[in-house]
Amino acid sequence: MTGRNLNSQPSATAFTAVDPAAGAPGTPVVALSGVSRSFGPTHALDDLSLTVRRGEILGIIGRSGAGKSTLIRCLNGLERPDSGRIEIEGRNIVGLSESELQPIRRKIGMIFQHFNLMSAKTVAENVALPLKIAGWGKAERRARALELLDLVGLSDKADAYPAALSGGQKQRVGIARALSARPALLLSDEATSALDPETTRAILTLLKDINRKLGVTVVLITHEMEVVRTIGDRVVVLEAGRVVEEGEVWHVFSDPKTELTQSLLSGIRPQLPAHIASRLASDGPETVLGVDLTDPALGNGLFSEILSHLPAAHFLHGGIDHIHDQPVARFFLTVPREPASLVDEATAYLRSINARVEVLGHVARPV
């Protein structure tokens, strides 16, 4: 990786942000209402409605087959819905012809899981391709391409061919290409799914920087909660073409309402350790409690205060996580069942500080 820290690059700040003519700040960048799309008997999208706010990073998550790909392709008209409205900057694009869609697509950047760089073009030519399509002159295209390659930290690769680049570098080129025509909206289709964890983090950081510096609205689809957690402002959980959960990322993470969300989160939230979970029974001398709590004070000693309020409890597992500076606690305790008042007191105290408490079961002996 030749990735450089964007913050140290003066050229990035000299960058012109989003086209000021592109819609008033109040209107949503994208608004979908009642969008359906079927492939034979399968409902890829089923009466789906959602809004993308200006300047946010919206993560759309779901398992494979949930309709994510169809949804993101509807946003730039690569896929046509059977019914519903898709408004981009207030204009409904459903029913537009291919040639009417082309100028709209030029204002929407897209990056792909497999990068989709032209192997016969150099890195600079790839970045300049959207500009060529938009009718820019050769010299302007080259200058703009170099400007963007500088932004993504690949100035030295301008005249290399994509085959000579690593996966992370290819995705940086993909991002530079998606941004070259100054789009107001950037669509990311599983952009980090083919990358290793370290490269994934670097690419996500770059996307976040671009979002903050250039004000580009980002819609990303992924099957990895970690991606949403790292850079998402809001998250939409998709299942069978429907929105099953939606909200601020920290909020959904601290309080997932649906089983699907909980299951998607299972890899990155503390879970009851397997050896304890396997011993859970309906009866036993110790009660196992699962606790979820979101409170800004968690960062200022609230957590230790909680533990000191529960002297009889054993701390099993878990802790505090920070999602966008928002501390979110999730942990597991055992409390003796004798005397019976101990569990009730602990539960009552935790609820009094707005924690969610769940009795998970009982274990035979203290763990």
Binding site: E98, L101, M110, M118, S119
Partner: protein, 218 residues
């Protein structure tokens, strides 16, 4: 080998080169657009049109199923119309090109089909139209295969041009039959075969070099 025969050999080499190159260029110019139409009009293509696709497929298959020696004779009226005569090197170019163009169309079609659909999607996402996709994606990305296929077509044309000797086209094949075979001039026969080997190897070598220079995949 007498000086007369040697001059005859030189002239035959020239005639073969002219026939091969001229019909090769024509089949490239005609075959590549046909290949693009085949790929673009196919199901899921950038200009899907199954009627055009089927019709063109049938015409191409029709031409390709007629043996070249029959095509040579059958096309005589068209050759006369275009060249003014049905004899000689110039006249042989017409049936050679008409036979090679559908062949090359099929060869180029294979290369165009191998272009990653993701690249076409990327170009569409950038707001590119069909012509952009053809010019910026399909043709450049398939170029190594397009050139490799053209090399194969040229080599095939060297062989086919020998058959054109049957209608008095001249060239190396004609020389080998009339002098080498019918007059038992073993020296001429050997010389013709040697020249053909050099010609074919040379074409293949040039083609391979060009493909290596054009190919930036991996």
């Amino acid at each position: 080998m007498s000086p007369v025969l040697f001059n005859l050999l030189l002239q035959s080499i020239w005639e073969t080169v002219v026939m091969t190159l001229a019909s090769g260029v024509i089949s490239f110019v005609a075959g590549l657009p046909l290949a693009l139409i085949l790929v673009a009009t196919d199901r899921g293509g950038i200009a899907e049109n199954m009627i055009v696709n089927r019709a063109l497929g049938w015409v191409i298959n029709g031409f390709r199923s007629v043996p070249f020696i029959i095509l040579l004779v059958a096309l005589i009226p068209i050759t006369r119309l275009l060249v003014g005569t049905s004899l000689g090197t110039a006249a042989a170019i017409v049936p050679l090109a008409i036979a090679a163009a559908p062949y090359y169309a099929r060869v180029a079609e294979v290369s165009l089909r191998e272009v990653d659909p993701g690249l076409i999607e990327a170009a569409r996402a950038m707001g590119g139209n069909r012509w952009t996709i053809v010019r910026e994606v399909l043709v450049p990305e398939a170029m190594p295969g397009i050139v490799a296929g053209f090399t194969v077509t040229l080599v095939t044309l060297v062989g086919a041009s020998a058959m054109a000797g049957a209608i008095g086209a001249g060239g190396l094949g004609d020389l080998a039959i009339r002098y080498g075979y019918q007059r038992f001039e073993t020296g001429i026969m050997i010389a013709v075969v040697a020249v053909l080997i050099i010609l074919v190897s040379g074409i293949q070598w040039l083609g391979d070099r060009l493909v290596a220079r054009l190919d930036h995949r991996a």
